[in-house]
Assembly symmetry: C2
Homo-oligomer: 507 residues x 2
């Protein structure tokens, strides 16, 4: 089979080699003297002066606190993502952190060991949720008998990934999902999902990206015409999904040695999965002597053709690549599947390029809701998940490399005094600013030094200072100082709020 790809295979190889692990888990000490901790905590009255030399305070393995610096980055990114979801008419939804274990287990056959179970404390058996699509969203639709819904959900999920096997993955992480449920005409919501992925990735300015697209029916059709026994479809699909972390050689070995596939069958698959391209590849596969005999594959190809037409109308066709090697590990997909990869992250001079790989993915799952519904009613769905933790990591690294200081507060005005015994005047003044909606801070000291106060502004990036002293009070004015230019002007006390609001609206 000839290579039909738009991109030379080498580009893909580079891409694949860049495909990444998310950030390493913070190095957490495993040593601890817990009995002493417990003992210290047992005393209901704190004993602050008692030394506890072996006391080690830590957080659970694979988790981390998010510092104010990280929170600022996350807030900005999440705002951008959620506002894109809202631009497309999505509603918000929130679901409990844990679900009944029976709802979760067996759904994730290959991953059930990764579930965090709650202790049986009498009552129901519960587990922390593993993702936002399957159990919360599909379960929510079935439980509320909803036939259509466009929703987004942002929330934490938990997976007990073994740190030794999957290095550096956090066990608690954020997910960011958008899904469209309902019976609609073909490929219109599917195309919108791809449009959203493009808008999010362009909007976050992460650099050039590409969205690989395939269809689960084409994958299955390909397996069938290559001679994979139907009972092995999901297992072989799972192997194929590892192509972003392993070479074809290794994947082929797994298929043959571990999953018992005939070598010639694997080689036939190997030929197909070289194929990647655009609409022309679809046309060529329609003519493929083997694939064109498979009904499922033809359905998938027909839908992809329509999809590319819509993507062209959306102006994003050049960002999309039909790629027969894309399998997506998740079992529940039934139609189109897709995965966005960054082609190159903007590395700083002298810095290692960041390895990131897949930053968004999704697909169509028309049968999942029915598995939750007592009567088996179908609610077709298509959706996407933003790899928000990877994106956080990229942006954090980029900021670190740029040495740009992140402001962790939004304070606009600092209330200062050069003199002693001006606390009361400062308190009155700052309350006036707060009441006017101005973000303001002062030092919690009776008599702070002026220099300390000005340094605080410089260190925390507060742009304006109002200064009140004896002289100003006598004259009924306040000094307004720009921290950057160090310019000071006297403003009439009664005009202060208006003047500050004017300055802030200009900046």
């Amino acid at each position: 089979m000839p290579q039909l790809g738009l991109l030379p295979r080498r580009t893909w190889a580079t891409l694949l080699s860049q495909l990444l692990r998310p950030p390493r888990a913070a190095c957490i000490s495993a040593v601890g003297c817990h009995s002493q901790v417990a003992e210290a905590l047992l005393t209901s009255q704190p004993k602050p002066h008692q030394e506890k030399p072996n006391f080690i305070i830590k957080i659970p393995k694979g988790t981390r606190d998010l510092s104010p610096q990280q929170m600022v980055v996350r807030e900005k990114i999440l705002d951008m993502v959620v506002s894109c979801f809202k631009r497309h008419g999505a509603k918000g939804l929130d679901t409990p952190a844990f679900e009944l274990t029976e709802m979760l287990t067996e759904k994730y056959e290959e991953h059930s060991g990764l579930m965090y179970d709650l202790k049986d404390q009498g009552g129901e058996l519960l587990s922390l949720r593993y993702d936002l699509t399957e159990v919360p969203f599909a379960r929510y639709l079935a439980m509320n008998k909803l036939k259509k819904m466009k929703r987004y959900q942002v929330g934490k999920v938990w997976r007990r990934e073994s740190p030794t096997i999957v290095q550096g993955r956090y066990r608690e992480f954020c997910q960011c999902d958008f899904d469209i449920a309902g019976h609609f005409d073909p490929m219109i919501p599917d195309a919108e999902c791809l449009k959203i992925m493009c808008e999010v990735l362009s909007g976050l300015q992460l650099g050039d990206f590409l969205i690989k697209v395939n269809d689960r029916r084409i994958v299955d059709g390909m397996f069938a015409v290559c001679g994979v026994p139907e009972s092995k479809f999901r297992a072989i699909c799972a192997s194929m999904d590892k192509l972003d972390k392993m070479s074809w050689r290794d994947v082929r070995h797994e298929m043959v040695a571990k999953k018992g596939l005939a070598p010639e069958v694997a080689d036939r698959i190997g030929e197909y999965i070289q194929c990647h391209g655009g609409v022309s590849l679809i046309e060529q596969l329609f003519q493929d002597p083997r694939l064109s005999q498979n009904k499922q594959a033809l359905e998938g190809l027909g839908d992809l053709k329509l999809l590319f037409e819509y993507l062209t109308l959306f102006g994003i066709a050049e960002k999309i690549c039909f790629d027969l090697s894309l399998a997506r590990g998740v079992d529940y997909y039934t139609g189109v599947i897709y995965e966005a990869v960054l082609l190159q992250t903007p590395a700083q001079a002298g810095e290692e390029p960041l390895n990131v790989g897949s930053v968004a993915a999704g697909g169509r799952y028309d049968e999942l809701v029915a598995t939750f519904d007592p009567k088996g009613h179908k609610v077709p769905c298509v959706g996407l998940s933003i790899g928000i933790e990877r994106i956080f990591y990229i942006v954090e690294q980029r900021m670190k490399n740029s040495f740009k200081k992140v402001r962790t507060t939004e304070t606009q005005v600092f209330v200062a005094t050069p003199q002693k015994n001006f606390l009361r005047e400062r308190l009155k003044l700052i309350a006036e600013l707060w009441d006017a909606g101005i973000k303001a801070e002062m030092l919690y000291k009776n008599n702070p030094k002026l220099l300390t106060q000005l340094h605080y502004c410089e260190n925390t990036g507060i742009p304006l200072v109002v200064i009140i002293g004896e002289q100003e009070q006598k004259e009924g004015v306040i000094k307004l100082r720009s921290v950057a230019s160090r310019e000071e002007v006297a403003i009439k006390r009664e005009n202060l709020v208006a003047e500050i609001q004017k300055r802030l609206s200009e900046s």
Copy 2:
């Protein structure tokens, strides 16, 4: 002892009787046929057509999904609360949903049965966090050796409240905390916390409110001069904290019968806890023959006096009431304590007044961080927690009573057509709107009826419709329709985005 209160005791009784339980947990069926669920899930290929008549899908007891309607209300309220925290210079922080069990247990002596423990799946013993102040915040400060920090945190916490004992409490709920850590001059950050409580409660327009203030040292001093043995301080304090749910008679009975307090000691306490008022009460207590002999109580009184001075400068003194009956159940408080109650919620005509009670609370805890620090270093803290779930409930009820429809999407423009075969033109048009940042929707149908499209706008509250048809296409225009007025104007195709943006900025 004479009654010193500013308010007649009856007002307090009314208040107390209103003090409430949060909303009832959604009624969740306890019946289910789980083995069938499990069996259904065991099949990796969905079998949608197989009937599962006894299949009952549900979520864990005491939890609930938050619908898009609820999410809209929550988002607005949280935005308001967080923007107030930011106005006061707070930084964001996030911590894991679970902590090491040893960090959590014994900290909450009376509540340890309420902790959700995770199953021991090999590795660390973990529990879901119980609040945001104690373990996450104090643990974070100690772990990172931070000596000062002004932070807010919004997040879920989990408590296994028995639904039979504490009716209607959710086991998963949101908390919203603001805290100031650091060595500062007395009562300045404390006063700011009260200012924040006032700003949040006024900003949310929940109706009239009052913040009760006391000091843990005054409580302890009062116990001492009344003759409570020191070993019983915390237990008697816990009883006193129930005054918002029980009458003094019942609390007194608990103190005497269950906690073994001498009846005359309880009666002496009973006299003090009648006292509530303002600065004049502080002055009177300075003269109280018994209390003025107690060093701790005098310290507390001195600080409260200073606090009231600052509250007057902040313009909020009339919202604050010094109340000797306020105890606050939490063990770790060491100084000033406070609790905000709604005096009357704005009930609709013919509606039962909403019972809400405490909607925000907090206090000073100077010793807590030291209990986490290996060297016992002290980091004084003062903070507050907004009773956000109660506030959500009040606002939700109020909206329900007003029959006001909540928009669950923010869509500004709908793209419609009156004609068949205009899907492609609609797709092009909507992409143009999205790319211009306009929130836009269309129906995912090849040929939807115009009436269906216009009904969709009316039902979901979309204000503008752009209509494209054959005629418009020929003339190079688009019709722009206002859903409310039903007025339509023709706009040149190339001016459409600008015209929409103009209209949206005006509305």
